[in-house]
């Protein structure tokens, strides 16, 4: 990370990271008198795994909600692919290629796994209502083409055996995986993961970490993730933003962050000898 240039950098494991895709400039978000995010700036570069960490209530999820257009910051600008993003509704942000998963799973419980993942293809499927009504022409073609893509993702995340099962019947770990599949199906430019390992046992965490690394490796997807498990964050991410009480207190490679005194004080507790 020493050779940081405007065009990117090379990670320790030799991956090439590209230019800035998304940049948050001086974001401030308030809820009435409560300041959730205070003057935070950072960027996300193409192809990297960017982690946002911080103690409970630091404003991490709020930050993710700002990125996905669910909250609108009072001050500051969001720059996406070299242009300032106007105030947008969440579905417009999604149409731009930003997909996300949720801290508490937000799947469509009454639908099958396949339908859930197919819903992720919403950006790529736009046949008219009439064509869909008679199931001919564009609608039918789209359905088959997108099904092929979705099946690849289902294979990739190893959920073939449950593709026709209603999501409501699945255990927690699998639901998390289905949610990742749905986000991936959108072929996003940036994938936001809100605590992808929350509530998982070690084995499930290992699986999920492998999937995240594979996604980044195979599809070249840019990933921004929030996670509490320090081991996971330090292993997975290329660069880390550290937040505390709505402020940014650290930004850099996992090693840099680990040695940052402010971070140690705020988050990791007492310094280890």
């Amino acid at each position: 990370m020493n050779d940081m240039t405007p065009d990117g950098y090379t990670t320790e494991d030799g991956r090439k990271i590209g230019a800035v895709v998304m940049e948050m400039r001086n974001i401030t978000l308030r809820f009435g008198g409560v300041v959730a995010i205070q003057d935070i700036s950072f960027d996300i570069r193409e192809g990297e795994i960017r982690a946002i960490i911080g103690p409970n209530g630091a404003g991490k999820s709020s930050m993710l909600n700002v990125i996905s257009g669910f909250y609108h910051p009072q001050e500051g600008e969001v720059w996406y692919k070299g242009a300032k993003r106007p105030t947008m509704k969440p579905y417009e942000v999604a149409q731009q290629g930003i997909a996300r998963t949720f801290q508490n799973i937000a799947l469509f419980e009454g639908m099958t796994v396949l339908d859930n993942v197919m819903t992720g293809r919403i950006r790529q499927m736009n046949a008219g209502l009439l064509s869909q009504a008679i199931w001919k022409g564009k609608a039918e073609r789209e359905e088959v083409e997108n099904r092929e893509v979705v099946e690849k993702i289902i294979d990739f995340l190893e959920i073939q055996h449950i593709r026709k099962t209603p999501v409501g019947r699945l255990p927690y770990g699998l639901k998390k995986r289905v949610e990742l599949a749905r986000a991936l199906a959108a072929e996003p430019s940036i994938l936001l993961l809100d605590e992808p390992m929350a509530g998982m046992n070690v084995e499930e965490k290992e699986d999920m970490s492998r999937f995240i690394l594979d996604v980044n490796d195979e599809f070249g997807t840019t990933i921004a993730l929030i996670e509490h498990d320090m081991g996971v964050v330090m292993d997975l991410s290329d660069r880390v933003v550290v937040m505390d009480y709505g402020k940014k207190i650290g930004d850099g490679s996992p090693d840099e962050v680990r040695q940052n005194q402010a971070v140690i004080d705020a988050y990791l507790g007492v310094a280890h000898d």
Binding site: A106, F108, M118, A139, E142
Partner: protein, 358 residues
């Protein structure tokens, strides 16, 4: 034994996403179609058509329409009666204004007009949900009935305030008016029912249906993955309104022939169709048919058993009928809250394994 998916291999995604993936179901569906089109018209008489088949078919369309809105998109509506009235009055105005155009197109157009009205009354759904939306649609129910009662233009200034369907023909055979043969009315409605069911099924298994169900299951998540809630909700109101309008038009033109709006399309109708959807099964096209059949056939069956079979007086039987139907609905909802469609699904699951227990 015969109900198996084993050996019925799917080699394309088109095959896999078809309506009846299991061979036996497919054949059963074809048999039902053949019987409905080629056998039933020859054996039915006036009583069967007017007491059983016409109401069943027409309510099935209304139930499909309401199921799309309530069962698939999760938007509660109590305005079905009012929207059916829109279909009825639209088809009446079209029939009397453009007598040279085929009634077939009038009915489809009436569906389209109802879709528009339904979207208009669906606008509050963008802001409110659940019970509050139900109350908002209830306003539609009362307003529309009031409108058709009070504005004489809608009933062509007739003295009685009623509307009555003039005779119209399809391929030279009358389908409305007093001269209509039972089989003609039956076949005319059947065509609309089959088309509605196929269209509804296609919409609900495709992207439109996924968007609706996404809104139903978790609207915030749906919006964040890219579903435009405005479009999804209003398209559900439009499609639902279209089917409800069709059924209202058929109910007036083919079934009743003459209509007084408060009587035929009152709040009772809204509840009746809603009960059909709930008893049949929310979010199931088959359930719409099952619910309509249940609520149309049960009273007929009870009446025939009590009056015809046991020889009880008609008035006593009529009152008992209300009590028994009401009681059955309650028992039924406690025993199987997901409706007849769920019973059907469970039966099919069991049948797939039969005669083995696992």
């Amino acid at each position: 034994m015969f109900y198996r998916e084993a050996g019925d291999f799917k080699t394309s995604y088109t095959d896999d996403s078809q309506t009846f993936p299991i061979k036996f179901d497919r054949y059963r569906y074809y048999v039902v179609l053949v019987v409905a089109f080629a056998v039933v018209p020859f054996v039915i008489n006036d009583y069967w058509v007017n007491a059983v088949f016409l109401p069943f078919l027409i309510y099935a369309i209304a139930a499909i329409g309401l199921n799309i809105l309530v069962g698939y998109c999760g938007q509660v509506s109590l305005g079905t009666g009012g929207f059916m009235a829109v279909g009825a009055y639209a088809v009446y105005k079209l029939m009397t204004s453009f007598p040279e155009v085929s009634i077939f197109f009038h009915i489809i157009l009436a569906g389209g007009i109802t879709a528009g009205v339904c979207v208009l009354f669906g606008l509050p759904s963008l802001r409110i949900k659940g019970f509050y939306l139900a109350v908002a649609t209830l306003a539609a129910q009362f307003f529309l009935v009031w409108l058709f009662n009070r504005v004489p233009w809608f009933y062509n200034y007739s003295a009685s305030g009623q509307i009555s369907a003039p005779e119209r023909t399809v391929f030279g055979v009358p389908v409305t008016g007093a001269e209509t043969a039972p089989w003609a009315a039956y076949l005319f409605c059947l065509v609309f029912v089959v088309a509605s069911a196929i269209i509804a099924r296609n919409l609900t298994r495709g992207m439109a249906g996924r968007k609706w169900m996404a809104i139903r299951d978790m609207d915030i998540a749906a919006e964040i993955i890219g579903v435009n809630p405005l479009k999804a909700k209003l398209s559900a109101f439009a499609v639902s309104g279209f089917f409800v309008g069709l059924s209202g038009a058929l109910f007036f033109a083919v079934y009743l022939g003459a209509v007084e709006v408060g009587e035929a399309f009152g709040i009772n109708k809204s509840f009746l169709v809603l009960f059909m959807v709930i008893i049949g099964g929310l979010g199931s096209i088959f359930g719409s048919f099952a619910g309509a059949a249940f609520l149309v056939l049960l009273p007929v069956l009870l009446k025939n058993t009590l009056v015809g079979g046991l020889g009880w007086p008609t008035d006593l039987a009529a009152h008992l009928e209300f009590m028994i139907v009401g009681g059955l609905i309650i028992v039924f909802l406690i025993a199987e809250p997901h409706g007849l469609a769920q019973l059907w699904r469970v039966a099919k699951e069991k049948l797939r394994l039969w005669p083995f227990p696992h």
